[in-house]
């Protein structure tokens, strides 16, 4: 490495630059935080039921098979848009019923097919979880995913 740069200069560039980029990152995070709360998500519609639904999503660690907004385990389908895929925008009652029946009928036991466990959710838990998925489907994700397949 060139003689023009000394060790202490390199160290000072590291400290100064890192603090600068950390400050920019924190500032953009603050802005993004407000953007999420006020613009891209439905904060007013984040009901107790949606919050409970998120808790159920976590309690059973659904994310270690599924993805949500593309993050998770890639073993099972994306659920960020499952509400849309089930036609929930046009027929909310039908989509809710279909999602419930799907979860209640697992595992399918079909040979050679990935199996979803039976979590024995109560009717309220199913409703809460579906409320959470419906709420998530309305997050402004800059147009992702490219299509309904998720």
């Amino acid at each position: 490495m060139s003689e023009a740069l000394t060790k202490s200069q390199a160290r000072n560039i590291f400290y100064g630059g890192s603090l600068f980029f950390l400050a920019v990152f924190v500032a953009l995070t603050v802005h993004s935080h407000h953007y999420i709360v006020n613009k891209s998500t439905d904060s007013a519609g984040l009901t107790e039921a949606v919050a409970r639904g998120k808790g159920i999503w976590e309690k059973h660690s659904c994310i270690n098979c599924h993805t949500i907004l593309g993050e998770g385990a890639y073993f099972a389908p994306e659920v960020g848009n499952v509400w849309v895929r089930y036609g929930g925008r046009d027929d909310p009652e039908g989509a809710r019923e279909a999602l419930k029946v799907w979860m209640q009928s697992q595992p399918s036991g079909v040979e050679g097919r990935r199996q979803m466990p039976q979590f024995n959710l109560t009717d309220q838990e199913l409703n809460d979880l579906i409320d959470f998925l419906e709420w998530t489907s309305r997050i402004d994700t800059q147009g992702w995913p490219p299509n309904e397949a998720g």
Binding site: G17, V24, H31, Y35, I36, V37, S40, T41, E71, Y74
Partner: protein
Amino acid sequence: MKYESQKVAYYYILAALILFAAQVTFGLVAGYIYVDPNFLSETLPFNRVRMVHTSSLIVWLLLGFFGAAYYLIPDEAERDIHSPLLAYVQLAILLIGGAGAVIGYLFGIHEGREFLEQPLWVKIGIVVAALIFLFNVTMTFLKGRKTAISNVLLLGLWGVALFFLFALYNPHNLGLDKLYWWYVVHIWVEGVWELVMAAILAYLMLKLTGVDREVIEKWLYVIVATALFSGLLGTGHHYYWIGTPAYWQWVGSVFSVLEVVPFFLMVIFVFAMVWKGGRDHPNKAALLWALGCATLAFFGAGVWGFMHTLSVINYYTHGTQVTAAHGHLAFFGAYVSLNLAIFTYAMPYLLGREPYNQVLNMVSFWLMSGGMAFMTFTLTFAGVVQTHLQRVNGEYFMDVQEQLHLFYLMRLGSGVVVVLGALVFIYAVLVPRSRELIAAQQPAE
């Protein structure tokens, strides 16, 4: 081993190796479930298998970092560890927490967020253990000789602890949850862990090549500067599609392209030091792992990361097997190889013997690296096919997955090779077999 208290590192490495074996075993089980999905589906569903696979990886890598620090800091500071007792207390907390978490996962007890599944009591245990560790090594550092290597290593480990605190924040708003979840996950592996990586590589280069400290430490500061300059705003490549503003598509794309730079510099660094250095260190296996670490990290984290990091590409590849391919080679190259390099280097000193089983250890390097490379290729092809069928053509997820069966079969095969390599490695460092030393060569004419 110059200082008696460095012995602490031995127990950290031992614990790390046990979890390493568990991690690859559960990885193999998960790979098998992809091929035979009914396997264990009622007793141990895929989500729990994966949880054990990823969590034990993270915990053993951290145990390795702590062990490396307890070995390296006294050597650099030229004095004993401030309190060996505290180091053992810290290890006990981590082992109880780690074992508790893994056993809990098998029975479905967890907090359920990806990679942060640890129940609250384990998370608090991790914070307490980290505080004990930071106190202990910082005291050692302050009382002794202060070098750039130990300075950067400590900065990295302070960062690990500070950013872990975001794991305790879990808002109801999924967008906010994800915004801060990445403060732990991204800033660990593409930020402060890189400081740990560069510091340990610099230490190994110092010891194995004999190049002047001034030269090595200047490189070190340049590498970590590029790591944080790019890595902090590079978090933006996770902020494309989770409810965050559109400007992240620009910020994330530009800075994550720059994230390749520190990994490229590390490759140049290790090879330049080896060419420059005149030392013929007997531990050839440690040198192989150190060179392999920088090289595989450059491909896994650098090249494979770059491949899908631009927002226009990521729009289609996000959350497909492309990510899985990148994740496997990046973790193996950067952090698994790093730990195995320092283990290979330190174990002979900790056990007070010559570096035995050199050839066996190097065989394990090629088994694991070959296996991981093959796994990465199969998952990359799977991901590209998946991206086209699902994201471009709009075929449904499960229909696409069925068409990827051949790739998953080949991935399972490469997984078997990796597990085999891991077992050979553990055997090579722990069991003295024969004085299989590689003699110094005569210089060529």
